[in-house]
Symmetry: C2
Subunit: 276 residues, 2 copies
């Protein structure tokens, strides 16, 4: 089976490696706006061949769209307009509602599966692609009733084969949950980095002290703005809800310190300890 | 050389393992309010013997105080009142100003070194002790001019032997920096856990989706309140300063989303990308 990967970055590249390793894809065809990305993906043997979009679609049974979410909607529409009902289209974006809503009446909607493999790192581009990236992680499939049963089965089997377990969710709920378990983590990490960098202007030595705790909370602050800004913007309402809740949780810590209320402070911490 | 460890938890236990492994301590004597901790530390061969405080001090050349910072001040004072000028006392707490200030006129101050090895995990107790924990990390020594040169040399050599590099700082600056690179990371992690747990009341499925990014930002939320609440409280002024700055950084993200100001959002993220 030939698989086209549109966007050979962190996710597309890692997907290519996984599909190849599991013997699901005989040939991986890369499509990317960036010639440098394509050339790097070829060098790293992530893709077997680079082609323009139309050629890649014509030669592939499955087409993955793995590009920033602001470009995904137009790209998926275009791909759907170019396929036959023997081909399958999948996206891997971190937001789902706007996309599913935009294409819900498309004639080829049944050939499309909206997925969100729950994996990523703070790095980007084909050089960041990782072997065996998705094993043991969840993959969310949204609005499965809008895909044909046969198409869904192929996609589920493929995700299972690369080690993922499937969770079903409607796109609206997905975006709410993604705001809680992924998008807010990135915003707090970016904001934490900015908090410390604000101080760094005064004092360089601060980073010499940084230990493992700091590293882990600030790691995501290295994430790519071209990927994440469109996610936050597209999921604006949910992200703002969570951000407001988060600020109000931080204010509780603030209040407990200002009032030197040790009991309240411990209560807040012990509540947080319940996290799994 | 015999070394007494007062508080055989995460830090004290890991210190015991490191000192033993490097052949610095021939015998580790454990002191702890909790009989269960002592028994576990003996079972795990973290300590060689458990003793009451006075006996342990009498039999040790070096005494480490590795207990929550609210108990450290009284403990260090007591230990200093029981030693001779052939013995050395070290604390490993995460706050330094209150302690150094309280003991600065103590007759035995020169036998004491205020240290903060920059390592930890979200776990606690002797079962959480880790071999080779401190290697490659920084150890802050505060107000070194208040320790005798000979004592300082012994302590520096010991920390170097377990793989740490030394940073010198006055206690006041230490507490400011610790608020930025350690204390705030813990508060944001606790608050993030509470943010998500608030939502979990409505929906359990949320955790099925959680990926690596969420795990790393929320990891510290499992940290022990008995250890961390006194740190936040003792470093209240600095922690509040950083917390206010952090909330204002989060508000910038909020404003960029509310106004759909993509340029500003990207600017905030690219600024954060500068973090090392």
């Amino acid at each position: 089976m030939n698989v086209a990967i549109i966007g050979v970055g962190l996710i597309g590249g890692s997907m290519a490696l996984a599909l190849k390793e599991k013997g699901i894809a005989k040939k991986i065809i890369g499509v990317d706006n960036s010639a440098a990305n394509l050339s790097k993906a070829l060098d790293l043997s992530i893709i077997d061949e680079a082609m323009p979009l139309e050629d890649a679609i014509q030669k592939s049974e499955i087409i993955f769209v793995c590009i920033p979410v602001d470009a995904t909607i137009d790209s998926v529409k275009k791909v759907l307009s170019l396929i036959t009902d023997k081909q399958i289209v999948i996206d891997t974006g971190s937001t789902k509602f706007a996309l599913c809503n935009e294409i819900k009446n498309h004639l080829m909607r049944k050939q499309f599966v909206a997925t969100h493999p729950m994996w990523g790192t703070e790095y980007s581009g084909p050089g960041a692609a990782v072997k065996n990236a998705f094993a043991g992680r969840a993959c969310v499939i949204c609005n499965k009733e809008e895909s044909s049963i046969e198409v869904l089965e192929v996609v589920e089997n493929m995700y299972n084969a690369i080690g993922m377990h499937i969770i079903y969710m409607d796109a609206l709920n997905h975006d709410v949950h993604a705001a809680y378990v992924s998008h807010i983590s990135h915003i707090t990490s970016f904001a934490l980095a900015n908090t410390v960098l604000e101080k760094e202007k005064e004092e360089d030595a601060i980073f010499e002290m940084a230990g493992g705790g700091f590293e882990s909370t600030v790691r995501l602050a290295k994430s790519n703005s071209a990927m994440w800004a469109p996610i936050f913007m597209q999921n604006k309402e949910n992200v703002l809800d969570v951000l407001n809740e988060h600020i109000s949780q931080l204010r509780k810590f603030k209040a407990s310190l200002e009032k030197e209320n040790m009991e309240y402070l411990i209560e807040l911490m012990e509540n947080a300890n319940r996290i799994k």
